[in-house]
Assembly symmetry: C2
Homo-oligomer: 332 residues x 2
């Protein structure tokens, strides 16, 4: 069965005995079409569920009013908020977003970027900072503006909006130490770059306090059950743990649950700190202490910068640090 031949401007024009030019105009500048004509067109469009074919205008116009967004994961609230932020800017501006996900894999990102570029998006927002050389090549060639969101790479592809994950970790772990922790372990899941940055911050803080950093990591994706498993492993491998700094809240919640199960009191026997400040941490007892990442703001700023660059008014500043804060948690 072949796809039904779809309705074209010409079809509508024929039906009304006018030219497709008038129908085209109806969509782009309706006020320049006679009211009577306009209404006759509207009726057909309405009744027949007409949707314009986008291909010809992708071809004939330089700008497509579309931006591409590649997020690593579909199930991480962090990126849901980021996209919300982006859309709050792009939609009123009349831009569509084309969304893709990479599963934290640079090879997949490459495929998705190629797909988005094949649709001639006017700009890209990426959430990772390590890309394949082919990805970089394609983007360079396309000449469109790009924002790398979430981190602050030393040499961004183009623009970057995010926060300093390493410093946030450094500060937070230092505060754990100040509050009395001496044996803080870092819990990590399958490594993306942000996990590594957070680890570096953690290690630096420990060293600077004259303490010894140790990590427990899993090759699996982060999850609550992995958090449990890592906590168990940490307790098995090390003595005298009095705190865990977790690369994200999933792990932290899992770790906290494990402690609860084993009768280890949080925060009295064990401080537990997470990253991202997801809703669930706020529903836990005790409330999870966690680093608040301004992801919606990052989305907003990223979209604003991108749209500005698309319209030709680039900021001279290329990198924007949106800072971070801490939840008022009770788990440390």
């Amino acid at each position: 069965m072949n796809k039904k031949k779809s309705l074209t401007l010409q079809d509508i024009a024929d039906e009304l005995g006018i030219t497709k030019m008038t129908v085209s105009r109806y969509f782009r500048e309706p006020e320049r079409v006679a009211k009577a004509t306009r209404e006759r067109i509207a009726k057909i469009v309405e009744n027949q569920g007409f949707v314009q074919n986008r291909a010809p205008s992708l071809m004939s116009k330089a700008i497509t009013n579309t931006i591409g967004v590649v997020i690593p994961s579909l199930s991480n609230q962090v990126f849901a908020s980021l996209v919300e932020g982006i859309e709050s800017i792009t939609q009123p501006a009349g831009f569509d977003i084309l969304l893709a996900h990479s599963g934290y894999d640079a090879r997949v990102e490459e495929r998705k970027v190629a797909m988005l570029l094949s649709y001639r998006v006017d700009g890209l927002i990426l959430c990772e900072t390590s890309h394949t050389s082919k990805t970089i090549n394609m983007i360079k060639q396309s000449g469109i503006p790009v924002v790398e969101a979430m981190e602050l790479p030393e040499s961004p592809l183009d623009m970057a909006v995010g926060m300093d994950h390493q410093r946030a970790s450094y500060d937070t772990v230092s505060e754990m130490v100040r509050r009395g922790c001496r044996h803080v372990i870092y819990l990590a899941a399958r490594l993306d770059n942000r996990t590594r940055l957070r680890q570096k911050g953690y290690e630096q803080a420990m060293w600077d306090a004259g303490l010894t950093p140790s990590s427990v990591a899993t090759p699996f994706h982060s999850s609550f059950t992995q958090g449990q498993a890592l906590m168990r492993q940490a307790l098995n491998n090390y003595n005298k743990i009095d705190g865990v700094f977790c690369t994200n809240d999933d792990l932290a919640i899992g770790a906290m649950q494990y402690c609860l199960e084993k009768g280890i009191r949080v925060p009295y026997d064990m401080a537990v700190v997470g990253f991202n400040a997801l809703d669930i941490g706020q529903a836990m007892k005790p409330r999870l202490t966690s680093v608040v990442t301004p992801r919606e703001q990052i989305g907003i700023k990223s979209a604003e910068l991108l749209l500005a660059a698309i319209s030709g008014s680039r900021d001279t500043q290329r990198t924007f640090d949106l800072g971070y804060s801490l939840t008022e948690g009770k788990s440390w």
Copy 2:
């Protein structure tokens, strides 16, 4: 600043002193291009990060090898698994997916469907069953196959793959009663259709057991903190509650946390049952009892059906019930 004029087949052809036809062939049937020519083209494509413009082929070919997927939410693991299932089928088949999200809003779904249709996707997968009439019109007009995934609507737009949410709820609540619950409350968040179906199943089960159904709902989106709030509200409004059946795991976890906090023992004083069987429920103590929805399977089956319909070999069966099961939870 205007978008850089992008590289075309013609540009590559010019550079090599051949015609664009040969370059075009290189992409679609490389074996029909002389090896020497092929290598010269490959080199340029490689070096310059060339990405084909998709627009012309959208225009000149009936099939685009692309399907559109609209999910309600970017942060719900349920849909992440669904999309994983879909991609496990579409990608090997050489189909790209264009992803959009509707925020559980039929008006937004309409916008997104229009966008996807403007790219001439060959098929659609939707995760909701209530659509605006314009959405239905547009889809009808386009003539492409559609799968409604997750539920089993009585009269699907076209095809449907899912499970019987009402029956799953009915069975589960009946089992709660069999286990001794007499005062089970239904906790609901902002209503989508699945929430309503689950409520119906719950009410029927209560009536059939000679008990009185009661619900507590919030207009907000489901979240862990909302689960807490609903549990508090339920305890305030009703006496003698001995169980809560929650429309999803977020609420159930929140409810369980609230009980924990108030010294209400789960499951001894209170049975808590959720829906979807997310990872977090399995990390809780006690392990959450929850209805397992076969979402990855739903994704796989949906994609298979859609691709079959696109290639013209439709199944005569239109609706597929993939069943459900229960986690071995300890919270009832």
